[in-house]
């Protein structure tokens, strides 16, 4: 009898615990997102207001892809470049923190995370004064005679550092570095040092030890870091706005512009959904073949 009475509670308590978060997500995130679907198939009533009418207007999508396709590509290009540069910076750093950090490990991780504690708007604005035409970085570049080289590399454009693709990518990289680094450090910390000893004992030199043991075992952290940085970077709005010029606008700026300046809410919605679909596709491709349980999300 008692057992039977306890059974329903046992079945329901996980749902009870999930309920607050689930309701939050459904009500404040899922439903508005769903509302974008009909919106993306609507037409504005007039050119001067945000009212729309649902007309199965599929051409919103065609229109959006035709006129904003290049910006979409540019967004992913910037995000990929920023993530790639971030990875080149973060991986050796994570290795150093894990294997040479010793008791300074928490401090070193703290130092990397520290900049993220300031508002990221403030960070973008600080970069503008650092990279600006009369800023210290440009002066240093000229002093060191690097302007020729940097112009060839496309970092400097018309003698400017600010409002170039490089400055936007720099801003993005700064933002995503902690998100790349933390999962990597966690994944590396999970590697039992005895496995490295075992590899050395089995006649593997340092290089083979890295490629055969450290790298494959850090891959879950790598995947997590890539997802955590690539997704926000592709949808970033602040860095292109402050550090880039009109030619460095990214897809989020375009969406903002469509909605708030051109008053084209349906097209903004369509573009948002296209962006989401592309990012979801990228995530699925990344995760295909490996279980989510491999992700050591911090």
């Amino acid at each position: 009898m008692r057992r039977a009475r306890r059974q329903p509670w046992r079945r329901w308590w996980p749902w009870a615990l999930l309920a607050p978060g689930l309701l939050w997500l459904i009500g404040l995130y899922g439903l508005p997102l769903l509302a974008l679907v009909p919106l993306s198939l609507s037409e504005p009533v007039s050119r001067f207001g945000l009212e729309t009418v649902f007309t199965f207007h599929w051409s919103n999508y065609r229109e959006v892809l035709q006129s904003h396709g290049p910006i979409l590509l540019r967004s992913f290009g910037y995000a990929l470049l920023a993530t790639g540069i971030g990875l080149v910076l973060a991986y050796p750093l994570a290795l150093a923190i894990r294997f040479r950090g010793g008791r300074w490990q928490p401090l070193l991780i703290g130092l990397v995370v520290l900049p993220s504690l300031s508002s990221y708007l403030v960070r973008a604005i600080s970069w503008t004064s650092l990279l600006g035409d009369s800023g210290p970085v440009l002066a240093l570049v000229h002093r060191l005679g690097l302007s020729g080289l940097l112009t060839t590399l496309g970092v400097l454009q018309d003698g400017r550092l600010l409002n170039t693709p490089a400055s936007v990518i720099l801003g993005l990289t700064t933002n995503l570095l902690p998100f790349l680094l933390l999962p990597l450090v966690v994944a590396l910390q999970r590697i039992d040092k005895r496995l490295l000893e075992a590899a050395a004992d089995l006649h593997a030199g340092p290089l083979r030890c890295f490629t055969q043991v450290v790298w494959p075992l850090s891959r879950p952290g790598l995947v997590a870091g890539l997802l955590l940085s690539l997704i926000p970077a592709a949808g970033d709005v602040v860095n292109p706005q402050f550090l880039g010029g009109p030619n460095q606008r990214m897809i989020a700026n375009t969406i903002e512009n469509l909605l708030l300046v051109q008053l084209q809410a349906p097209r903004a919605a369509a573009l948002t959904l296209v962006l989401m679909a592309l990012i979801s596709l990228a995530v699925v491709l990344q995760l295909r073949g490996r279980g989510l349980e491999e992700l050591p999300l911090p």
Binding site: D201, G205, Q212, L217
Partner: protein, 332 residues
């Protein structure tokens, strides 16, 4: 030629002496054990041989070559780790193939050797599994195969059976011995389990507080220990003062005879009272106290003990003086 020769090898960590200068030779094909309580320096010794640690002084010769400063991957020895340290992302087969691949072994040879190693540990059918899909005993065997496949000068085993449950430990002990006989490779076993060391080893070394106490065959060390430390570490022991008063003699509990009759011609004896009887199945452990207030332990089969033996019984403990052994380094 000795496969492993340690010459005055010592290791300190700060002010702590992990290993006092140690000289030790291990021959080809030997099953050698390093036995001692935790912190005695046995694992330090093993890590020095494997190359994970460098000695402050002394030389380490492997197959006659001075490899004191060589990194682990350049040493002709392979280690079986206490927790096995199998690569979790690799299959059993790839784990075993790791060493040969490090040495860029040709493919056909590699496949033959890995297959053989898995045969030796009787696991060929599990080659495709991942380590986490194996039981403790199976993981242990993979770790052993992963070492054996390299045909090393010596396999080093760090407490390999400690993580297994007692029944499995006994099975694996026999298997370990059988495998060592089969492959004929030198095994160096680190253990704190005296039964393990006594039953497996051709020779063993007893270490205590970073110092080598004694080296010898299990029988030598059990019956003729040099010191009280070795005597008590290898089994229960009665340490009796020499009749002269200087020094101590070891008398193993199974050498004592209990009964009502006093010692006969050429025998020695003590009158004692039974304080405790511990039934152990095949044998009974009898704890006694002599008239002169000396604790004694006797072990005998139930069949050999007097029928009416009970706590409080007064009787004679007799022994043949030839069965006792004088200690060079008495008293703990």
């Amino acid at each position: 030629m000795d496969v492993i020769a340690l010459q005055e090898v010592s290791r300190r960590y700060g002010s702590l002496t992990a290993l006092e200068p140690l000289t030790l030779s291990i021959g080809a094909g030997e099953f050698f054990s390093l036995l001692g309580p935790s912190g005695c320096g046995k694992t330090t010794t093993l890590r020095l041989i494997a190359g994970f640690d460098r000695p402050q002084s002394g030389r380490i010769l492997l197959q006659g070559r001075d490899l004191t400063e060589a990194p682990p991957h350049r040493r002709p020895v392979n280690l079986v780790f206490q927790n096995y340290a199998l690569f979790p992302h690799l299959s059993v087969w790839d784990n075993v193939a790791f060493g040969p691949r490090s040495r860029r072994m040709a493919d056909a040879e590699l496949r033959r050797r890995v297959g053989e190693a898995l045969e030796v540990v009787r696991l060929p059918e599990l080659a495709r599994r991942r380590p986490h899909q194996l039981s403790g005993g199976q993981q242990q065997r993979v770790a052993l195969a992963r070492a054996l496949v390299n045909a090393p000068a010596a396999v080093l085993l760090d407490e390999p059976l400690a993580a297994l449950d007692p029944d499995l430990r006994r099975t694996m002990r026999r298997e370990l011995q059988a495998i060592q006989r089969e492959v004929g490779i030198t095994f160096v076993l680190v253990t704190h389990d005296r039964e393990e060391a006594l039953s497996l080893s051709d020779r063993l070394a007893v270490l205590n507080r970073g110092r080598l106490e004694q080296v010898g065959t299990p029988r030598q060390l059990y019956e003729q220990p040099r010191s009280a430390v070795v005597a008590t570490f290898l089994g229960s022991a009665n340490l009796l003062p020499e009749p002269s008063g200087a020094g101590q003699r070891l008398l193993r509990p199974e050498r004592l005879r209990l009964g009502p009759e006093p010692p006969g011609e050429g025998e020695r004896g003590l009158q004692a009272r039974v304080e405790e009887l511990v039934f152990q199945g095949a044998t009974v452990e009898v704890r006694l106290r002599s008239r002169c207030d000396r604790p004694l332990i006797a072990i005998d089969t139930s069949a050999n003990l007097p029928n009416n033996l009970r706590v409080g019984s007064e009787l004679w403990c007799r022994w043949n003086p030839a069965h006792s052994h004088a200690l060079e380094e008495p008293t703990l």
